[in-house]
Amino acid sequence: MRYVNWLTAYGPTYLNALGWTALTAVLASLGAIVLGCALLLIRLTAGRWGKRAVDGYVQVFRNTPVLLPIYLIYFGFPLIGLPWPAVVCGGLALVLQNGAYVSEILRGSFRAIDRVQFDAARSIGLGPWHTFRKITLPQVLVYSIPSLGNQVVLLLKDTSLLSAITVTELTMQAKLLTEQTGAAYEAFVVVAVLYLVLVSATEVFFRAAHRSVRWTH
């Protein structure tokens, strides 16, 4: 019963925070995917040094917690003359971190493409950019859909860390409500449920996307 009262009182507040969480997650995911594609392109076309650079980038972000880039950008950018809003700083950190993981996912999918296709592309005269755009990228992205879905879920959960830099997303909202009203359980249980809903919705979306690809069946 008290949850019903709670929700009627704070429903809109939660929805506002939910909006921020969802928006940040969507934009950061898109950014991470674009960054991942760019890293794949560099890996494929920039020779030995390109591969090493991308590997280095990936290793750095795989072996450090995501809070560090978040703090680095949030606290550091104002010091170098870029006082961006907290949500942009946090979003950028999420893009940089997840872009590394996305590039590894894409790299795995790239291996699944039969080498003969690249011979075929060369034989009909396609240059490297056209080969990447029309042959490599579409297949790599489609093969990566399940793993990308996982990664987006992880990114979604990581948006909760933006509460540490004052972004009013779901987790921050729960903290604020707890401080205002002292009702910790209600505040956080509702937020946990909302995250579960978001995560489930994301998983449903990616499963549907996977099934909708006609050419693999």
Binding site: Q117, D119, A121, I124, L126, I135, T216
Partner: protein, 251 residues
């Protein structure tokens, strides 16, 4: 016409082509046969520069391909753009996995003309439909490769190669990976191309088919063309001992 002189290639320390000389006329059909590992596929791939080669020349209609002498006289690869232009004059069909799985048959066929030859979309599509009709797949223009049989895929691959209007068609064991009952439909398409007098070089195990359509058969052994002649000469009066052995084994 194609002229090959002294073609040599090694993979690391292993020589695969040891100085191949070959001349193929316009409109001629040449079959390359030989045991596995003799170098026939490598030779084919060198012709359209899917493999680099270490020495020798390949000329198409008198023009040297793939390498030219640099200012210091040393042998140098031509720039990628020129290589791509040269490649467009040859079409190649591989043993399998030819088609791009994420595109329909029509899109596969139109891709080359549209993006390499800058043919406008409508014209490329018309050309594509005509070619698919020609290989007997007019009703499959919007099918994806996964929905096509192996034989149908190979026919689309032939259509795609022809869409570039090549001077030469290179065929690398195009029926070897097919179930036996699908081989016939692909061979029929090749037969129908004879009337167009397009130069074809095919690597094949199907000696019977080679006898039927080839003007000459070249027997490749150990990186060299050991014997070359009309089908009658090669198959009935072989002179090279390894060729006799080879024929005995495949009979």
């Amino acid at each position: 016409m194609i002229e090959i002189r002294g073609l040599k290639k090694s993979f690391g320390a292993t020589p695969v082509l040891r100085g191949v000389d070959l001349h193929v006329d316009d409109g001629e059909v040449l079959a390359l046969v030989g045991r596995s590992g003799c170098g026939k596929t490598t030779l084919l791939r060198c012709i359209n520069f899917l493999e680099e080669y270490d020495a020798g020349e390949i000329l198409l209609d008198g023009q040297p391909l793939w390498y030219r002498a640099g200012p210091d006289g040393a042998r140098r690869r031509v720039p990628d753009q020129d290589a791509r232009r040269m490649r467009q004059q040859m079409g190649i069909v591989f043993q399998q996995y030819n088609l791009f799985p994420h595109m329909t048959a029509l899109e596969n066929v139109c891709l080359g003309p549209r993006f390499t030859q800058q043919v406008p979309a409508a014209e490329a599509e018309e050309r594509g439909r005509r070619l698919l009709n020609r290989v007997g797949l007019a009703d499959k223009v919007d099918a994806y490769p996964a929905q096509l049989s192996g034989g149908q895929q190979q026919r689309v691959a032939i259509a795609r190669a022809l869409a570039m209007r090549p001077k030469v068609l290179l065929l690398d064991e195009i029926t070897s990976a097919l179930d036996p009952e699908l081989v016939g439909e692909v061979e029929d398409v090749i037969r129908s191309l004879l009337a167009e007098r397009i130069m074809m070089i095919l690597v094949t195990h199907a000696v019977g088919f080679a006898r039927e359509i080839a003007h000459r058969i070249a027997y490749v052994s150990d990186g060299l063309i050991a014997e070359i002649g009309t089908p009658a000469q090669i198959l009935e009066q072989p002179r090279d001992p390894t060729l006799k052995d080879f024929l005995r084994r495949i009979r």
